[in-house]
């Protein structure tokens, strides 16, 4: 296939997550794949389960909601938010809340598309209100059960440095 590499994830500040990936496609197609519910259903699962809900009301003030059922454990994870800014084929700014942590402040997510020579760089900048919320978001990428281990090893690692 045309896999153009892995996602690059960095943590520019204590509150941010930056995700960058190049695609071998013009940006209007990437935009279409990012904003059409039937298409989002086909990639958002990350090969970890089945997408059960994709709602996109693509206008400023409109809401979005994605949910999936994880193949391991069968539990549902869901996210929702509101669109704050939309520049077709270029930029989407939206809020993003994880429904598993309803007390957390929503993150602000800026998705940017830049095309060069028929290829498109997708950049997703996620800005949380606090480092703790940012860290919880990053940990959501971990398999079930490993999160416990991580919490504990945080202590262990600091203890072993002492």
């Amino acid at each position: 296939m045309t896999s153009t590499g892995t996602a690059r994830v960095t943590l520019p500040t204590d509150e941010q997550i930056l995700i960058v990936r190049d695609f071998d496609a013009p940006r209007q197609l990437v935009w279409e794949a990012l904003t059409t519910p039937a298409l989002v259903r086909r990639w958002w699962h990350a090969r970890r389960g089945e997408v059960t809900v994709v709602e996109i009301d693509l206008r400023v003030g409109g809401r979005w909601r994605y949910a999936m059922t994880a193949a391991s454990g069968g539990f549902e994870v869901a996210f929702h938010g509101e669109y704050r800014e939309i520049v077709p084929h270029e930029r989407i700014v939206s809020t993003e809340a994880y429904e598993g942590a309803p007390d957390a402040a929503p993150a602000l997510t800026t998705t940017t598309l830049e095309e060069r020579d028929g290829r498109t760089t997708l950049t997703i900048l996620v800005e949380h209100a606090s480092r703790a919320e940012r860290d919880a978001h990053v940990e959501s990428g971990m398999e079930d059960g490993l999160q416990d281990a991580l919490d504990l090893l945080e202590q262990v690692a600091s203890g072993s440095r002492a």
Partner: protein
């Protein structure tokens, strides 16, 4: 780890080794400093043979090391061996890589449609 290949997978991999709650409790106790097995067993209210067994598993995956101090053997956490588990950004990055690999497939189909030779 090759010398332990014949053993069950749960004891040869640091991820699996620390997935066991009592072993995590032992690592937590050792986070405060090195300890002999008897003190660990008392602190965690576990039978000493059980703690010894867990320590053996943790040593096999390199999560814990031991040194002789007089008549005692002192166990401590081996930080570098735990680094792969600590690499939480890596897990998140794999999630998005898998997501984007699936997006590549969607884009391929859209490109074929644009080219007029697809659906």
């Amino acid at each position: 780890m090759i010398s332990h290949m014949a053993r069950a997978a749960t004891t040869t991999d640091v991820f699996n080794a620390v997935a066991e709650p009592q072993r995590r409790a032992i690592l937590g106790a050792l986070a405060n400093g090195e300890r002999p097995v008897g003190e660990l067993a008392r602190g965690l209210a576990l039978p000493q043979p059980q703690v010894s067994k867990h320590l053996r598993v943790l040593r096999e995956v390199g999560a814990v090391s031991v040194r002789e101090a007089g008549r005692q053997r002192l166990y401590r956490v081996n930080g570098p061996a735990l680094k792969p588990i600590h690499d939480w950004v890596g897990h998140f990055e794999r999630l998005w890589s898998d997501r984007f690999d699936a997006l590549d497939d969607v884009l391929e189909q859209l490109k074929r449609r644009e080219g007029g030779d697809g659906r």
